[in-house]
């Protein structure tokens, strides 16, 4: 029940954005740590490709949730859990941030400190944005549950 309550909000999308920005922060911090390593090529996660995959996953999720499903029978426990497993497996948003390996690329410019630092600053701004919108979404849900603004 909680799954379907959250699926209709933006909470899963923002969760994927937060996981991506955390993973990207780790990659960029590794670049700064290796600035003096000879032969090191700096790496990055591509935010454009991540945005495309997230968009495709959102479209897929909306198509899935808009197709009509059969109502659950009260005494039929096995089919209820089957449906829940099917729903979780078909939810495309859950594995957007899992397979981040294929958008990891080697940035050909050899580690300029200013570029790494500014990429970290932009990543941090995106992370803060996702966190702020996520917490306001939770506050909305809480207002709906407690029936108090």
């Amino acid at each position: 029940m909680l799954d379907s309550m959250f699926q209709s909000t933006t909470i899963p999308v923002l969760e994927q954005v937060m996981r991506f920005s955390q993973a990207r922060h780790n990659v960029l911090a590794g670049n700064i740590a290796n600035l003096d390593t000879p032969g090191y090529k700096s790496q990055d996660l591509s935010p454009e490709k991540f945005a495309q995959r997230l968009k495709a996953a959102i479209v897929a999720r909306d198509e899935f949730s808009s197709t009509p499903k059969e109502p659950l029978e009260a005494g039929d426990a096995s089919s209820a859990s089957e449906q829940r497993v099917q729903f979780a497996a078909a939810n495309p948003l859950s594995d957007v941030a899992d397979g981040l390996d294929d958008i990891l690329y080697h940035d050909e410019s050899t580690g300029s400190l200013e570029k790494q630092v500014s990429a970290i600053a932009k990543n941090q701004m995106q992370h803060n944005l996702a966190v702020s919108v996520l917490s306001s979404q939770f506050r909305l849900l809480q207002a709906a549950i407690s029936e108090r603004a």
Binding site: S112, E114, K115, S118, A121, M125, V133, S135, S136
Partner: protein, 138 residues
């Protein structure tokens, strides 16, 4: 708003290249041999900047279009016993030293430093603007 960070970062990179060129000039103020070991005085390097409109966000950034070598006349110093002294010609007995003026290079280094700090100030303003914007949501 995130893309204005790219414009300031391009300026940081360009000023750092300029500072490197100035540091090279000051380090080689008395260099009379080039990298191959031949007797040739060091010529001062200077950077040429050009506006770069390929960045997103509307405002043009800056990029280093070339690092040029100046063709100023060397500074002649009379020293007939020096192994690099000219053997014949109008400068016989003179050694050719690089024509690098320490005061000019230092003032250029100051200017590059202040430009670097100014761009960092702009980055701080951009970051605080983004933080203020998020306060609308939170």
């Amino acid at each position: 708003m995130f893309s204005s960070l790219d414009v300031s970062t391009s300026a940081l990179v360009a000023q750092r290249v300029r500072l490197n060129a100035i540091a090279g000039n000051l380090a080689n103020m008395s260099t009379t041999h080039n990298e191959a070991g031949e007797a040739e005085p060091y010529q001062a390097r200077f950077t040429v900047f050009e506006a770069d409109s390929s960045l997103p966000g509307g405002a043009p950034g800056v990029k280093v279009s070339s690092v040029g070598v100046s063709d100023a006349e060397p500074r002649w110093k009379y020293d007939p016993g020096h192994p690099d002294a000219m053997k014949e010609g109008p400068h016989q007995g003179y050694v050719a030293y690089p024509n690098i003026d320490m005061t000019t290079e230092f003032v250029d280094a100051l200017e590059a430093t202040r430009a670097y700090e100014a761009n960092i100030g702009v980055i701080e303003v951009t970051k605080s603007l983004a933080a203020q914007t998020l306060k609308i949501v939170a």
